[in-house]
């Protein structure tokens, strides 16, 4: 009996010893790159009110508030084109700094004061995106969810409507959950 057990343990240890795991941050990076690509795609499915831009050549401003592990991947969106506009990425460290912006990634560092934050943006035509639990349910607009190792998202259609953002029905269809 004991012999058998030892044999098992030996096999397991042998199997473990040949494993060369990929570094964790490398894989997380992949996840964040996918999420950043999602955000870039959201821009194609949302229509902002005309007043959100000063002119047809105005850039599409992607803002980040606070700190978030998504930032490096998000920064890489800089210089791309969406809706015929150039993408500009801006970093904000506090609520007061956020002035003109079309898509705002609410950093995980802001999790604890989410309610206050969402209230402050009420009515402003800014698409609020967050990579944290229950973000869309709490009044944010698009929140990422991981569904069986695949990235998906929840949309708060109500909140988008109040912000005068027109969300393409295709996006609503793809969403994991619509509030």
């Amino acid at each position: 009996m004991l012999k058998r057990l030892l044999t098992y343990l030996f096999i397991t240890c042998a199997l473990l010893s040949v494993a060369h795991p990929v570094r964790a941050d490398e894989r997380e990076e992949a996840e964040y790159r996918v999420k950043a690509a999602f955000i870039y795609n959201f821009a194609k499915f949302v229509e902002w009110p005309v007043s959100a831009f000063a002119g047809p050549d105005d850039p599409l401003i992607f803002g980040v508030l606070g700190d978030d592990p998504l930032i490096p991947a998000f920064d890489a969106l800089r210089g791309k084109k969406a809706q015929g506009r150039a993408v500009v990425v801006r970093h904000f460290s506090s609520l007061d700094e956020v002035k003109v912006c079309h898509i705002l990634l609410v950093g995980r560092s802001e999790q604890d004061r989410l309610e206050e934050l969402i209230a402050a943006f009420r009515g402003a035509p800014i698409l609020l995106v967050g990579d944290m639990e229950r973000f869309a349910r709490q009044g944010g607009m698009i929140g990422f969810v991981l569904d069986r190792n695949k990235v998906s998202f929840d949309i708060n259609a109500e909140a988008c409507k109040k912000a005068r953002l027109i969300v393409n029905s295709q996006l609503l269809k793809l969403a994991n959950r619509v509030y």
């Binding site: 009996m1 058998r4 057990l5 098992y8 343990l9 397991t12 199997l15 473990l16 040949v18 494993a19 060369h20 795991p21 990929v22 964790a24 490398e26 894989r27 997380e28 990076e29 992949a30 996840e31 790159r33 996918v34 950043a36 690509a37 999602f38 870039y40 795609n41 499915f45 969106l77 791309k80 989410l114 309610e115 229950r134 349910r137 709490q138 009044g139 991981l146 190792n149 695949k150 990235v151 998906s152 029905s169 996006l171 609503l172 269809k173 793809l174 959950r177 619509v178």
Partner: protein, 693 residues
């Protein structure tokens, strides 16, 4: 022909082993970065395609498990496919510390060394999508082919060890098995599946599932199963010469062909916004080939039939950013018919008819209080409005078990609070009060301290009390050989457990757990005191809260998930049970169990080999003998997308054709043949094809 077949089989085994080695070894040598599969510029691909990219969170393991106030094992749909599991019983056999005894009528769960022969599955609570499935007569969880759900529809099985009565009430004695079914979106269209196996076994399933606009999702499925069963040989019947004068049973040579098994099942789930409506139905007929209960041996007319169905409506709604409401209404149906052909002994066909119906509701609020308290408060009500039972001889009609019709009810309220107590230390405390119309009230608390000394380590100290309400059969059933006992109290268990979980890197997990439990007021069937002192026994049985049992156990599990898809899990469980009356180890209580599961990619993302090894030490039988220890191997080769949309699998169960048996549930008798151990399946095969349209 047979020889050639065996040769072919050997070839198959060698081939698969070679495939396994060739496929697995180089793959483990060079793990590929997960980023490789994704194109350099992700912004170039569409949203639909992005949603199909597999990413991993910080860990391949569900981190929530280390926060759970118990030791939890999760078996996923992928595990089910890759290991060729056919029933929930197959799934549970692979779970650390769990074992299943199959008496060729029903499958009986054993956990933590406890699996007394003759007991129903009433000390484990089986929940499907939040719906309690233990029926209301024997309180049993049906886990074999009689399980209400086709295992193909399972998304995952969560096995939550330890007492769960503080949240779930009765039956959550040794643990809760929580089954989550697939969602419509997991099917994305129609699916047809067919399988064929040894002993003339065939199964077919058609399903449709999808997600539509407006948060609407649907899943529909129908399954049919038919198995002729193995030709079994029981030496007990071969040599048995009855000493009972009336026993004129011919000696049939110990061979029986009455092991057939058939079922049909239906499942439907519809979600719209916050409401989910779910319905399940299954009907199974199983031949009883063992000649149990003095029935005619090798008589196909001997059978048990179970019909199980339910309708469940759930409403889940966020009341505010912090508070979620969960409400449920349900209706359940259970019908059991047994045809006991006892012509040889008693010249009659004996029938048992049992019907149970119940309905009820549950309301639960989950909220966050003072920022740090995660509080669950809930209440539940069950109305057992139908509990009919009858046992009789058909011709000439003779009633044994009174033509009884009963009803009962129970309500409960529970509260759970989870909060950080200090840095790295969180507390999970819960209590539930249950009130039954039959025996009164019972209160069951649970306390868990979860300590995370460093990241990826967790130490859990757990205490909990749980109960099992006496079932209808134990409390009320009266027949010519049994009397009711209205004074029965619930069985109680107190469990102390220490769990240590350690994650190393993102791939390796270790879990060690030691526990002690004490069961009091255990319900046993005893002979009533004889009315006249001269008779040795009255022959009349009564259920009493007579026994107490203690047990200690230790479990160790190691699990590794490699980047390339190779998964390995090995566990060992040691348990020592003691009957406090006799000081002996319980019957059907293995001292040791070892389990090993390896799933190896043979061809990247396309072909996998699943290898399963199970060892169980000897178990004492009711006759005081031992069911021998055994070591069995199951192998499955699974492939998907070799042909687009097609899944194919081939399995060999009990590969080395080990002859082993589980302890039987009949007390030995000088008058009738009984099976002390019940032989399990010899080597057998299954092939399965699933096509998505």
């Amino acid at each position: 022909m047979n020889k050639r077949f065996l040769k072919g089989l050997k070839g198959f085994i060698y081939f698969s082993m070679a495939m396994f080695i060739a496929g697995a070894l180089p793959a483990t040598g060079r793990a590929e970065p997960a980023t490789q599969a994704t194109p350099a510029d992700l912004t170039e691909i569409s949203l639909e395609d992005l949603m199909d990219v597999t990413v991993y969170g910080a860990s391949k393991f569900n981190q929530k498990l280390s926060e759970a106030p118990s030791s939890v094992t999760i078996i996923t749909a992928d595990d089910i496919r890759k290991n060729g599991y056919r029933t929930l019983a197959d799934i549970l056999r692979s779970v650390r510390g769990f074992f299943v005894s199959y008496a060729r009528d029903y499958s009986y769960i054993g956990a933590r060394g406890f699996g007394r022969p003759g007991d129903y599955n009433s000390r484990i609570l089986l929940v499907v999508d939040g719906h309690r499935t233990n029926e209301n007569i024997y309180d049993s969880a049906l886990i074999g082919t009689e399980f209400v759900l086709d295992v193909d529809l399972i998304d995952r099985v969560e096995v939550i060890r330890g007492p769960g009565s503080s949240l779930y009430g009765s039956n959550a004695f040794f643990g809760v098995i929580n089954i989550i079914t697939k969602r419509g979106r997991d099917l994305k269209g129609a699916e047809a599946s067919g399988e064929a196996g040894s002993f003339n076994t065939y199964k077919g399933r058609v399903s449709y599932g999808n997600k539509f606009e407006n948060n609407t999702e649907a899943l529909l499925s129908a399954t049919g199963y038919d198995s002729k069963g193995d030709r079994l040989y029981y030496k007990e019947y071969d040599s048995h010469v009855s000493t009972y004068p009336a026993d004129s049973r011919p000696i049939p040579g110990g061979i029986t062909n009455a092991d057939y098994d058939r079922y049909q099942s239906l499942f439907a789930k519809l979600t719209h916004q916050d409401i989910t409506l779910e319905a399940a139905y299954s009907s199974r007929s199983k031949g009883v080939p063992t000649g149990a209960w003095q029935t005619d041996f090798n008589e196909p007319g001997n059978k048990v039939m179970d019909i199980r169905g339910y309708v469940d409506m759930k409403y889940e709604h966020s009341l505010s950013a912090r508070t979620d409401l969960y409400a449920r209404l349900f209706y359940d149906y259970y019908h059991f018919t047994a045809d006991y052909s006892t012509y040889a002994l008693w010249s009659a066909l004996n029938k048992s008819l049992t019907t149970g119906e119940w309905r009820g509701g549950e309301v639960k609020l989950t909220t966050r209080l003072l920022d740090i308290h995660r509080v669950i408060v809930g209440s539940e009500y069950t109305d057992n409005f139908r509990k009919d039972h009858k046992n009789f001889d058909v011709d000439p009609y003779m009633l044994y078990g009174g033509d009884e019709k009963r009803s009962s009810g129970a309500w409960a309220a529970y509260l759970q609070d989870e909060f950080p107590f200090a840095r790295n230390l969180s507390v999970n405390a819960g209590v539930r009060y249950d009130r039954y119309t039959t025996f009164g009230g019972t209160t069951n608390p649970r306390l868990a301290l979860i300590y995370n000394p460093i990241e990826k380590s967790s130490v859990k100290l757990l205490y909990g009390s749980a109960f099992r309400a006496p079932n209808d059969y134990e409390m009320f059933y009266t027949s010519s050989t049994q009397v009711a006992n209205l004074d029965l109290k619930p069985e109680k268990i107190k469990t102390y457990e220490l769990v240590y979980e350690q994650y190393i890197g993102d791939h390796f997990r270790m879990s060690a757990s030691g526990y002690y439990y004490k069961i009091t007021d255990l319900i046993v069937s005893v002979e009533t005191t004889p009315t006249t002192p001269t008779t040795p026994g009255s022959g009349i049985m009564i259920s009493k809260n007579n026994d107490s049992v203690t047990a200690r156990g230790f479990e160790l599990e190691l699990e590794n998930k490699w980047e390339n898809g190779l998964d390995g899990r090995i566990s060992h469980a040691i348990q020592r049970t003691e009957d406090k009356q006799t000081g002996e180890t319980l019957t059907n209580s293995p001292g040791h169990m070892t389990k090993l599961n390896i799933t190896a990619p043979v061809m990247k993302e396309k072909v996998f080999a699943g290898i399963e090894e199970q060892y169980m030490s000897r178990r004492r039988t009711l006759a005081g003998n031992y069911a021998r220890s055994f070591f069995i191997t199951n192998v499955t080769l699974f492939s998907r997308n070799m042909v687009e949309r097609l899944e194919l699998s081939a399995s060999v169960y009990n590969l080395f054709d080990k002859k082993y048996g589980d302890p039987g549930y009949e007390e030995p008798s000088p008058d009738y043949a009984t099976l002390d151990t019940i032989r399990q399946d010899s080597r057998n095969y299954r092939v399965k094809l699933t096509y998505r349209f």
